[in-house]
C-alpha cells in the first residue's frame, strides 16, 4: 500500500505540474462539451424547407414522369383519355407542339421518339390526370423531360406534359378554420414549428437552393393537390428531396417534412370524413348529396306513414307498409350509428410522444450522456496512455522494474489516478449539464457507480495503449486515434443498433460502449440497477482485463 501511495503521489505531482497536459486532459473536454452542448442547444428549431407549389393557376406546361413496367398500356390510357390523340414524333416535336398550343397534353420517353399528343377538353382535365396518374403509378413532378432522364434514367421512363390551362382545378382552395387556403397557404398553415417554408417558383430553383445548402429539403406540391385532398377517391403524390450530405440534417429534415405533411393529411382525412358524415345525414334529411339532390329517408318514411294511414281498411297492405317503415327506421338508426362511428374513429390514432424516463426529453438531454462518455473516452485514454509513456520517456519504467516492485503496483496507481481525474471531470460535466440544461440526474448512486467503473476501465485501456509507445506525444496521438474510433463504436454518436453485427459485437469489448448504454439508459430511459447491472459488471471485468494486460506489458517492456 505504501508503494502504491508513493506512485499515486508521484503521478499526481507530475500531472499537476504539467499545464499543457491539464489543458489537454481537462480543459479541452470541458471546452468541447461546451461547444457541442451549445450546438445542440438550438436543435428543435424549424427546418428550412423549400416549397414549390405547382397547384396554382398557370398557362405553363406541367411535367411529371415515372418508370413504368408497361409503356404500351400507359400510351393506351393516354390515347383513350386525351381526346383526339395524335403522334408527335420525338421529344423536340412534342415540346414545340405543347408550346404552340396545338396539343395540350403529351406523353413520351425522355430524349426519345414515339411521343403522342392530345387536344384535351378542359372539362376532362380532372379525369385525364386521374387516369394518367394511375397508369403511370406514382408519377413524380418534374421540371421537364431532361430532369426525368437525369433522375430516373431513360429505360422505361415516360414523361407526361400537361398545359396548366386544361387543368381547371389548379389553385383550388381548402377551407380550414374559416379560411380558404390554396396548396401553398395550406402548407404554410400547417408548417407549425417543424418547418420554415421558403417558396420557390420552380423545381429547378428549389434544387439549386438545396444544392447550395440554403434549405435542407424541398417539397413539391403537385398540380391538383388540394383537389386530391378533397376528393374521396384520389391520392396525391408528393416529391420530396432531402439534403443527405449530413445524416443528422437529413433526419431532421425528413422528420420536419413528415410532420408537416402528416398534419395536412390529418386535416384532409378529418374533412373527408366530415363530408361523409354530412352525406349520411343528407341521406336521412334529404338535400345535396355530393352534388346530387336527394330525397331523404325521413321524408320517405313520412310518406310511408301516410300510406299506412290511408290503408287502414286494408290490414294486409298496412302490415307490408309497417315492415317498410320498420326497415326505414332501422336504416335511419344505422345511418346515425355509422355517422357516430365515423365521427368517433375519424382519426383513430392520436400520438402522445413521451419518453420512458417519465418526462419530455429534448436533443439537449440526449446529448448529455454522449458528451459525458466522450469526455471519459478522451481523458481516460490520453491520461492512461500518457502516464505510462511518461515512465518510458523518462527512462523510469526500467528503473522501477529494477526495484523489484511488482508491475501491478504502478499500474494500479495509474488506473486509480487517471480514473480519479476522469471521474471528477465526468461528474463536473454532469453537474454542469444539470445546472445549465436543467437535466435532472435520476438514480445518482447508479450514475456514480458507472462513472467510477467507466473512468477506471477506460483509463486501464489507456494504460495498455501507453505501453506500446515510448514518448508522451506518441501516447497522445495513439490515445486520440483510438478515442476517435471508439467514439463511433460506442454508440455515443451513431446508434449501435444501426451498425453491422460484427461491429456491434466488437464494440462490446470496449468499456465506453457499456458506459454509454448505462448512462443513457439511466438518464434518458429511466433504467435502474436491475437493467444495468450486466453492463456494469462488463465494465468492471473489462477494467480488470485491461489492467492485467497493462501490467503484463509493463513487465515485458521493463525487461527489454
Amino acid at each position: 500500500m505504501r508503494k502504491l501511495g508513493a506512485f499515486l503521489a508521484k503521478d499526481a505531482r507530475l500531472l499537476a505540474r504539467h499545464r499543457v497536459l491539464w489543458a489537454v486532459l481537462v480543459l479541452y473536454p470541458l471546452l468541447a462539451a461546451g461547444v457541442v452542448g451549445a450546438a445542440f442547444s438550438r436543435t428543435g428549431r424549424p427546418v428550412p424547407v423549400g416549397l414549390v407549389n405547382l397547384d396554382r393557376p398557370t398557362e405553363e406546361v406541367l411535367w411529371m414522369g415515372a418508370k413504368v413496367e408497361d409503356p404500351d398500356l400507359a400510351f393506351e390510357v393516354f390515347r383513350e383519355n386525351a381526346g383526339s390523340a395524335v403522334e408527335l414524333g420525338d421529344e423536340g416535336d412534342a415540346l414545340k407542339a405543347l408550346e404552340e398550343g396545338s396539343v395540350q397534353v403529351a406523353l413520351g420517353p425522355p430524349g426519345g421518339g414515339g411521343w403522342w399528343g392530345g387536344v384535351l377538353d378542359p372539362d376532362r382535365g380532372n379525369l385525364f390526370l386521374k387516369e394518367m396518374k394511375k397508369a403511370l403509378s406514382s408519377p413524380v413532378d418534374l421540371e421537364g423531360p431532361v430532369e426525368a432522364g437525369e433522375v430516373m434514367g431513360g429505360q422505361g421512363t415516360l414523361v407526361l406534359g400537361v398545359r396548366g390551362s386544361c387543368l381547371p382545378f389548379l389553385g383550388e382552395g381548402f377551407w380550414v378554420e374559416g379560411q380558404r387556403l390554396d396548396a401553398g397557404a395550406l402548407a404554410e398553415f400547417f408548417a407549425g414549428g417543424s418547418c420554415e417554408l421558403r417558396p420557390y417558383p420552380g423545381i429547378r430553383e428549389a434544387k439549386e437552393a438545396l444544392t447550395a445548402g440554403r434549405v435542407d429539403a424541398v417539397v413539391v406540391l403537385p398540380p391538383g393537390l388540394v383537389h386530391s385532398l378533397k376528393a374521396l377517391d384520389d391520392t396525391a403524390f408528393l416529391r420530396i428531396m432531402v439534403d443527405q450530405s449530413n445524416l443528422l440534417k437529413a433526419h431532421f429534415a425528413e422528420t420536419g417534412v413528415r410532420s408537416l405533411l402528416s398534419r395536412v393529411s390529418e386535416e384532409a382525412v378529418r374533412q373527408k370524413l366530415r363530408a361523409v358524415v354530412s352525406g349520411l345525414k343528407v341521406l336521412v334529411s334529404g338535400g345535396d348529396f355530393f352534388g346530387t339532390e336527394v330525397t331523404g329517408l325521413g321524408e320517405l318514411r313520412s310518406d310511408l306513414e301516410r300510406v299506412k294511414e290511408a290503408l287502414a281498411g286494408r290490414p294486409d297492405l298496412a302490415t307490408a307498409v309497417s315492415r317498410s317503415l320498420d326497415l326505414a327506421d332501422t336504416v335511419i338508426r344505422d345511418l346515425d350509428v355509422a355517422a357516430d362511428y365515423l365521427r368517433g374513429t375519424a382519426l383513430p390514432l392520436q400520438l402522445q410522444l413521451g419518453s420512458v424516463s417519465g418526462r419530455p426529453l429534448s436533443a439537449k438531454d440526449a446529448a448529455v450522456p454522449s458528451l459525458v462518455v466522450l469526455s471519459l473516452l478522451w481523458t481516460g485514454m490520453l491520461c492512461g496512455a500518457t502516464l505510462v509513456a511518461w515512465e518510458r520517456e523518462e527512462g523510469m519504467l526500467e528503473r522501477v522494474s529494477l526495484t523489484g516492485v511488482p508491475s501491478r503496483v504502478p499500474i494500479a496507481a495509474k488506473v486509480l489516478l487517471s480514473g480519479a481525474v476522469v471521474g471528477l471531470l465526468a461528474l463536473m460535466l454532469l453537474f454542469l449539464s444539470s445546472l445549465i440544461l436543467g437535466m435532472p440526474v435520476s438514480r445518482p448512486g447508479l450514475v456514480f457507480a458507472v462513472l467510477v467503473m467507466g473512468s477506471l476501465s477506460i483509463s486501464a485501456l489507456g494504460l495498455v495503449v501507453g505501453t506500446a509507445v515510448e514518448e508522451v506525444p506518441a501516447a497522445m496521438v495513439a490515445g486520440a486515434m483510438i478515442s476517435f474510433v471508439l467514439l463511433f463504436l460506442c454508440g455515443a454518436v451513431y446508434p449501435l443498433e444501426q451498425m453491422p453485427v460484427f461491429l456491434r459485437w466488437s464494440a462490446r469489448i470496449f468499456p465506453p460502449t457499456h458506459v454509454q448504454e448505462v448512462l443513457s439508459g439511466v438518464l434518458l430511459q429511466g433504467r435502474g440497477w436491475r437493467e444495468s447491472w450486466l453492463a456494469l459488471l462488463a465494465t468492471t471485468l473489462l477494467m480488470a482485463a485491461f489492467s492485467w494486460m497493462a501490467s503484463r506489458l509493463w513487465s515485458r517492456v521493463g525487461r527489454s
Binding site: 526500467e398 528503473r399 525487461r559
Partner: protein, 240 residues
C-alpha cells in the same frame, strides 16, 4: 567479505548477431572495473546481462561463486543500475525523485529522509535538492542519475557510459565520485566507457572488449599496464 559479481562465459545473440562471445569477467566489492571498448563491442550487453535486464543465450552470472537468477528481486536489490541516459522525473525536484525511489526500496519515515540527505550529500547535490530535475546541467543530471542507483546501498553499482555527453570538468568530478563510491562504500563499481583516457584516469582494473570478445584485462596505474595496454591504445587511436 570480498565477494565477486561475475559473468561466466556469457554469450548473447540478438537474432543472427552475436553480441557477446563467451565473456568471463567479474567485479569485486571495493574495486572499480572499467569496461572499455568501441561502440558495438558488447559493453552495454554485458552490463545488462549482469543487471538482469537481458537473459544470456548461454553462460551464467555468479555472485560469490554461486550462480544467481538475475531476475530475482533479492538479487536486483543488491545492484544499483545506472543507465546511460539520466533516468528520473524531470518535473520532480531532485529530492522528490530520490524520496520516490527510496519508497520503492521500502524506505520510510525518518530513515527515508536520512538516506536521501546522505545520498544528496554523497553526490554533491544538496544545494540543488529543490531544483526540478529537468533544470539540472548535464553533469548534475548524471550525478542525480547515479544517486538514484545508490539509494538502497547496493553491493554493486553498474553504470552504462555515465560520462557520455559530459564536459571535461563534469566528467572528472563524476569519475572522482565513482572512485570514492567504490572505496568508501566497499561496493563494486563496474562502468563502461569507450574513452581510454577515462579508464586511465580511474586507474584500477580495465577490461577491453572488442567485437563481443574480451581481449585483455589490465591493471592501470600499478605498473601492470605494460605493452598490452599500449598496443590497445595504439590500435584504437589508429582506428580513429
Amino acid at each position: 567479505m570480498g565477494r565477486m559479481l561475475e559473468g561466466v562465459d556469457l554469450v548473447k545473440d540478438f537474432g543472427r548477431t552475436r553480441a557477446l562471445r563467451g565473456v568471463t569477467l567479474g567485479v569485486e566489492k571495493g574495486e572499480v572495473l572499467v569496461l572499455v571498448g568501441p561502440n558495438g563491442a558488447g559493453k552495454t550487453t554485458f552490463l545488462r546481462l549482469l543487471g538482469g535486464r537481458l537473459k544470456p543465450t548461454s553462460g551464467r552470472v555468479q555472485e560469490g561463486g554461486r550462480e544467481v537468477d538475475t531476475s530475482e528481486p533479492a538479487y536486483l536489490r543488491r545492484l544499483g543500475f545506472v543507465p546511460q541516459t539520466p533516468s528520473f522525473y524531470g518535473r520532480l525536484t531532485c529530492r522528490e525523485n530520490l524520496l520516490f525511489a527510496a519508497s520503492l526500496y521500502g524506505l520510510k519515515g525518518e530513515a527515508r529522509e536520512r538516506r536521501v540527505r546522505e545520498v544528496l550529500d554523497l553526490v554533491g547535490l544538496s544545494t540543488y535538492e529543490g531544483v526540478p530535475a529537468r533544470r539540472l546541467s548535464g553533469g548534475l543530471a548524471q550525478r542525480l542519475n547515479v544517486a538514484m542507483g545508490l539509494l538502497h546501498e547496493p553491493d554493486y553499482l553498474l553504470l552504462d557510459e555515465p560520462t557520455a555527453g559530459l564536459d571535461p570538468v563534469a566528467r572528472r568530478v563524476l569519475l572522482a565520485l565513482l572512485s570514492r563510491l567504490a572505496g568508501e562504500g566497499a561496493r563494486g563499481v563496474l562502468l563502461t566507457t569507450h574513452v581510454l583516457d577515462e579508464a586511465e584516469m580511474l586507474g584500477g582494473r580495465v577490461a577491453v572488449l572488442e567485437e563481443g570478445r574480451l581481449v585483455g584485462i589490465f591493471r592501470l596505474g600499478a605498473g601492470e599496464d605494460g605493452p598490452g595496454w599500449e598496443e590497445v591504445r595504439r590500435r584504437w587511436e589508429g582506428g580513429r
